[in-house]
């Protein structure tokens, strides 16, 4: 084990970022044109980075697996994006935003990064508005804000329920502008399979062209991953179904440490699973909790229609347990509370695995029109999917896998442990500790892509402009291509009888049951052994029809699932090694007498970062100790 150095700049918290910007090396504009940057992933983080790096003059080669960047999973974010503008004059500031995030992350995030994210948040909003993002406005013509997910100020900017779409399209418009200028070259419909390391530095990637099946080599002076999160490991999740860990895992296999893999956010307000065919769980935005009240019947197994259960026979359990925050408690708390009620037999619906989210009172007080203006499209979406009209009866919701706080370990410059290899957006572990607050992922992605990476990467590239264009002919490229090809051929060669999806479903079930909302030693051990059995069965029984050299969607899925098995094992090991509860990581062995998460700061105030030691060997564990100098560490109480 080693102690990791995040290279956090010295000085007072609020000055670190400016000091750092003032002191790091820059690349002069003429030299930038000699530098190629590979950027994998063009969601909000990647598209923002591509446009900014292109403007700066770098040559960007950008990759995504969809047919166009505009379809990246960021498009699905609904509720909003935070910034510390303090437009409401309600006492907000970068420091307060920082403070909320550190507390929300249950004191498991790095102070300096979080403060920087809060600092640049305002600029991201400016940038987006200038790019034509149509955020919601008040009648005055000024930007509207709402309060979102477990905080007491209104700092969330939104565009109805399509905030992610509008933010992504804004960043994508910057990217296509650079495409037109020739500064960005787009390689869509590509899966990244390998990172190529030359002399210890990231110098390229291997991709599969998803149309022709061709295995391709690409080189650059640096490689940036912006490949999103891996919540799809649960099979059913709120993520777009193509979301995956494979790019990050390829980097991990080549030496990039993976941090806090088991920190996964389970979102409290998703549509419940309705049947076995279901391919995903649709999120109902958290903003609904601003006006909706969550309840279950007081009586176990009460099967009456919700509208005929009188007020006094309803248990508004969040309001009961957390009077200060009520329905607005953070996601992890709300999710566990729903699970607790359902496990205790109070859940509703056919399966007993859902709770009510009720707008009856809000409609009575504010009128249907006001509610429609705020949530119209969400109500419609719910009605389309569940066949229930939320204006007339409560929605039914249940928690679902949603966001991965874990990811590639990066230092303050957002560089992984492989020199020249960066990770931004959801693909890194950086800013959300053990739990992410609502509307702060888009904020992080925009900050990383627009304002942070384009500066910090200069520090690394400053010396590299002398390195001539990197050839893709070297032995390292040969080896990486062979590795990629061998893996694909191995999958195709199994020739078993079971579909990839059937394995993914079983894998998801194991992870959900034992490495989901609640974890314990025995369950995690059991999950580890089930995972290794299932993985072995996969490599014996999976069936991937078709050929390598054509569109082959089953093969694409198979690669993802194969990597998920390994990531799943690492998630369980990580969860086992952290014997405390913190944020979304709830170890049953570590709870307060009232059943709340019990952190053990003396032992676990660190980031766990895992090193891949080769196929078949155990990961090596490293630590980044966390220091809190600007916030008082408290029990995270929402009572």
């Amino acid at each position: 084990m080693t102690m990791l150095d995040a290279k956090i700049p010295a000085g007072p918290l609020a000055d670190k970022w400016s000091n750092h910007k003032n002191s790091i090396r820059l690349v002069n504009p003429a030299n930038r044109t000699k530098l190629d940057i590979i950027l994998v992933g063009t969601g909000l983080a990647g598209a923002a980075a591509a446009s900014t790096l292109g403007e700066l003059g770098y040559n960007v080669k950008a990759f995504c697996f969809q047919d166009t960047p505009r379809r990246a999973h960021s498009v699905a974010a609904q509720g909003g994006i935070n910034a510390a503008k303090n437009y409401r004059n309600d006492g907000d500031s970068a420091f307060r935003l920082f403070h909320d995030l550190i507390k929300g992350g249950d004191y498991r995030a790095r102070e300096a990064n979080v403060h920087r994210m809060a600092e640049v948040s305002n600029q991201s909003i400016d940038q987006m508005v200038a790019s034509g993002v149509p955020f919601a406005r008040e009648y005055s013509g000024y930007l509207d804000n709402r309060s979102f997910g477990g905080v007491q100020v209104s700092r969330t900017f939104y565009a109805k329920g399509q905030t992610g779409q509008q933010c992504l399209l804004g960043a994508y418009s910057g990217l296509i502008r650079q495409l037109a200028r020739g500064k960005v070259t787009m390689y869509p419909r590509r899966d990244m399979l390998e990172v190529v390391i030359v002399d210890g530095e990231a110098r390229g990637i291997i991709t599969r062209n998803l149309v022709t099946g061709e295995i391709e080599r690409h080189s650059g002076h640096a490689v940036v991953l912006a490949t999103g999160g891996y919540g799809t490991i649960y099979y059913l999740s709120t993520l777009a179904v193509g979301s995956n860990a494979s790019a990050a895992w390829a980097a991990h296999r080549k030496g990039a440490l993976f941090a806090n893999p088991s920190f996964v956010q389970i979102h409290p307000t998703s549509l419940p699973q309705l049947n076995d065919y279901q391919a995903k769980l649709t999120l109902m935005s958290e903003s609904l909790r601003n006006d909706g009240r969550i309840w279950v019947p007081k009586e176990k197994g009460d099967r009456r229609h919700p509208n005929s259960i009188p007020e006094e026979e309803r248990d508004y359990y969040l309001e009961r347990r957390y009077p200060a925050f009520g329905n607005l408690v953070p996601r992890d708390v709300a999710s566990r509370a729903a699970k607790e009620r359902c496990d205790a037999g109070y859940g509703v619906g056919d399966t007993g695995l859902s709770v009510y989210l009720d707008f009856g009172g809000a409609i009575e007080k504010q009128g249907k029109k006001a509610i429609e203006a705020k949530y119209g499209n969400l109500f419609e979406m719910y009605n389309k999917l569940a066949g229930i009209n939320p204006y007339e009866e409560p929605m039914r919701i249940y928690p679902a896998g949603h966001y991965t706080m874990g990811g590639l370990w990066v230092d303050y410059n957002l560089m992984t442990t492989v020199p020249g290899l960066y990770a931004i957006g959801e693909s890194n572990f950086s800013d959300h500790g053990a739990n992410r607050l609502g509307a702060s992922s888009l904020m992080q992605c925009a900050g990383d892509g627009y304002f942070i990476l384009p500066v910090t990467i200069g520090d690394y590239l400053a010396e590299r402009f002398r390195t001539p264009r990197i050839s893709t002919d070297g032995a390292e490229f040969d080896a990486a291509e062979k590795e990629a090809r061998d893996k694909l051929e191995r999958i195709m060669a199994v020739g078993g009888k079971q579909t990839v999806t059937s394995f993914h479903k079983r894998l998801g079930r194991i992870m959900w049951d034992d490495c989901g909302m609640v974890r314990n030693e025995a369950g995690l051990q059991k999950a580890l052994s089930s995972l290794s059995e299932l993985k072995e069965e996969f490599w014996r029984e999976v069936k991937v029809p078709g050929r390598l050299d054509q569109v082959n969607q089953e093969l694409e899925k198979a690669v993802r699932v194969a990597d998920f098995f390994e990531l799943g094992q690492l998630m369980c090991r990580d969860a086992l090694s952290r014997k405390e509860s913190c944020g979304a990581h709830f170890r049953e062995e570590s709870q307060t007498p009232e059943g709340e998460a019990q952190r053990i700061d003396a032992e676990y105030s660190y980031v766990a970062a895992w090193e891949h030691k080769g196929e078949g060997s155990d990961h090596e564990f490293h630590k980044e100790p966390l220091k809190f100098e600007n916030v008082e560490i408290k029990e995270r109480s929402y009572k």
Binding site: A48, S51, E55, Q66, D67, T68, R70, R71, H73, V75, A76, K85, D126, Q127, V129, A130, S131, P134, F135, A136, R137, E138, G141, Y142, L143, K160, Q162, G164, Q165, Q166, L169, S173, G174, I176, R177, L179, A180, A240, V241, N275, Y277, Q278, A279, K280, T282, L283, M381, K384, L385, G387, Y450, F451, K497, T499, K543, P545, G546, Q550, V551, Q553
Partner: protein, 245 residues
């Protein structure tokens, strides 16, 4: 329930395609349309046949990947619905469902039901952006925008780039898609500076790529899953006229 599927199969862009029929039993009304296709695919794989290729990702009506021409209508029979939002409740036991890819000269088939829609990106590249460099933006609230204008811009901005408008148009015109972007940016003060250049370049690119001319038929509006209004085409025409004088 039991349904009969007639699906366009085509191995590659070069290959000759054709319809193949499948009888599918055990379909549930609770399935979404794409879950029904997932189910078909699992039976095909188990029976040693190749699954049907189709595009999808978010499965909640926002990414614009899904793009199936179902019984002669883009995104199927339900109004303002993307294919992935379509449910099997829309279909009766025993019904026949014909599934094709988008049909357009400009959207060639890649495989089965997947088409190449990169022409859309090319149109946007011609001018579908505001040239705002990172870091140069003014304070966001320094540009007040009347709420009704912002709302109208938003209503145009929610286009998901699916291409149903093109697939539904007898002339294969991309006007609704182009108009949505032109209109969004024309309504916002930030977008005015480049408005003339933008509309000229985008329209020229659209013509150059081979999309058909708009004949004011209105099929696009009727089939757009996001309810983009044809009035945006009127605004495009006005903008275009202004740019030409």
């Amino acid at each position: 329930m039991k349904i009969k599927l007639k699906i366009w199969r085509q191995e590659s862009a070069e290959a000759k395609g054709g319809f193949v029929s499948y009888d599918l039993e055990g379909v549930s009304k609770e399935m979404s349309f794409l879950e029904m296709l997932d189910y078909l695919n699992s039976t095909l794989i188990e029976g040693d046949e190749e699954p049907v290729a189709f595009e999808h990702d978010c499965r909640e009506g926002i990414c614009g990947c899904c793009s199936l021409f179902i019984n002669g209508r883009p995104h199927g029979p339900a109004g303002e619905t993307t294919t992935c939002e379509l449910r099997m409740t829309q279909f009766e036991d025993g019904s026949e469902i014909v599934i094709e890819p988008w049909r357009s000269r400009v959207f060639p088939v890649i495989r089965d039901l997947i088409v190449d829609r990169s022409a859309f990106d090319k149109i946007l590249q011609a001018g579908g952006f505001i040239s705002a460099n990172t870091g140069a933006a003014p304070e966001a609230n320094s540009i007040p925008i009347a709420k009704h204008k912002a709302d109208e811009a938003f209503d145009a901005a929610i286009c998901v780039g699916c291409g149903a408008c093109v697939a539904s148009c007898p002339n294969g015109s991309a006007m609704l898609f182009v108009a949505a972007k032109v209109s969004q940016l024309a309504l916002l003060p930030q977008g005015r500076a480049e408005a003339k250049k933008r509309v000229r370049k985008m329209v020229a690119k659209m013509d150059e790529l081979g999309f058909g001319a708009c004949g004011n038929i209105g099929a696009c509006e009727a089939e757009c899953p996001k309810g983009i209004k044809i009035s945006h085409i009127a605004r495009l025409n006005r903008e275009f006229l202004r740019a030409s004088i």
